[in-house]
């Protein structure tokens, strides 16, 4: 996770978008709370700006 967060930061992605938690099957409440918190956190960060994820995005610039 440390490495992945470092790579994400270098790639310009907020490392807060990544989270790893271990929750046992018997801890339903903790599981639900973790998902709620993380969803809220991501919602606050909003969608990622457009990157070159696929060829279509690239073509936009190249053929502009």
């Amino acid at each position: 996770m440390t490495l992945l967060k470092k790579v994400l930061r270098q790639m310009g992605v907020n490392p807060e978008r990544l989270r790893l938690e271990w929750v046992s099957a018997s801890e339903a409440q903790l599981f639900a709370q973790t998902v709620r918190d993380f969803t809220e956190q991501i919602r606050k960060l909003g969608p990622l700006p457009k990157g070159v994820v696929d060829a279509a995005v690239a073509r936009e610039e190249v053929h502009a």
């Binding site: 440390t2 470092k6 790579v7 270098q10």
Partner: protein, 325 residues
């Protein structure tokens, strides 16, 4: 004798190494000359854009395109080569994945220009002079190509039929590709003409199956055991995610794999695969210990995507973390 094939070699945003790789096939180049007419090769002979434009569409049997697509002139070349070539080959790591030039995608073109023309220690430019795209001289107007905001791999701009990986491509695979054309036995479109396994499978160094790394070291700062796996000695090596076919040339010469052949067929994203491979060999009892070991890797993204940042699945996001690199 049937009509000769027609080959063309187009250099684009590249260092010229791929062009040297063409002549690196030694005397086989004479056989290539018997087999095919080279109708366009500006590095070797005085060809201009208009010579390529004059070739009828599809008039080139196989077009070899090397270099990344960095500026609008490269885009023009890429489109022309696609239009004129029956088969278009991305020749070398830059055309295949963006190569070293695409490491520039970590920054905007404006950042790069600022560095290049203002802040490099050897530059003295008090007036902030920048190259102009157009400049009038008594003889007429001079123009320069416009650098785009990013560097692209060839197949992000036009359709590509085959890939010859490597920095530069290895003679044996260039010969294999030419032979395939000569015999009319071309593999399915989209094939990467090289090995199908990982560099580790070709690597002569000894490895145990239990890699346990407690510290990462930079290769020039330590004496490494030339018989032992680089990773097991804590030296970053891209072997596990990189396509084979180079006969582990760098490793045989004493340098860890840098990943120039790109990912193997079953690796989607080179960086993701390497991050997982590297993280899994670290041995630590606590999270702090793991953090300490992994923080010894100074520039993981740069190392994992050294030859392929343009093709990384994530792309480099701009705007989310301003000025935070």
């Amino acid at each position: 004798m049937p009509e000769k094939f027609k080959f063309a070699f187009m250099p684009s945003g590249s260092c010229g190494g791929c062009e040297i790789a063409v002549v690196d096939i030694d005397e086989v180049i004479l056989k290539v000359a018997e087999l095919a007419d080279i109708v366009y090769w500006p590095t070797a002979l005085d060809f201009k854009d208009k010579d390529l434009e004059a070739i009828p569409d599809g008039g080139i049997t196989v077009g070899f395109f090397n270099g990344a697509v960095r500026n609008d002139h490269d885009v023009h070349h890429a489109k022309l080569m696609r239009q004129k070539s029956q088969v278009l080959v991305a020749f070398g790591a830059c055309a295949q994945m963006g190569g070293i030039p695409s490491l520039g995608n970590f920054w905007t073109t404006e950042d790069l220009a600022h560095r290049m023309y203002d802040t490099v220690p050897s530059v003295v430019n008090p007036e902030g002079t920048r190259p102009q795209l157009k400049y009038d001289v008594p003889e007429g107007e001079l123009t320069l190509p416009r650098a785009m905001d990013r560097t692209y791999a060839l197949d992000q701009v036009v359709n590509v039929d085959y890939y010859l990986p490597g920095c530069p491509p290895q003679p044996k695979w260039i010969i294999a590709a030419v032979e395939a054309v000569a015999k009319g036995e071309l593999p399915p479109k989209g094939t990467v003409i090289a090995g199908t396994k990982a560099v580790c499978d070709e690597c002569p160094r000894e490895r145990t199956e239990e890699k346990q790394v407690t510290a990462f070291k930079r290769i020039h700062l330590v004496e490494n055991d030339p018989k032992k796996c680089f990773l097991e000695q804590g030296i970053m090596c891209c072997g596990p995610a990189t396509r084979d076919g180079c006969e582990a040339a760098c490793i045989v010469a004493g340098q860890a794999c840098r990943g120039c052949f790109g990912p193997t067929d079953n690796v989607n994203d080179m960086g993701a695969k390497l991050a997982s491979a590297i993280a899994s060999i670290v041995v630590a009892d606590t999270r702090d210990e793991a953090d300490r070991i992994l923080s010894q890797l100074d520039d993981p993204a740069g190392y994992f995507y050294r030859f392929g940042l343009a093709r990384s699945m994530l792309g480099v996001q701009r705007g989310e973390l301003k000025g935070d690199k």
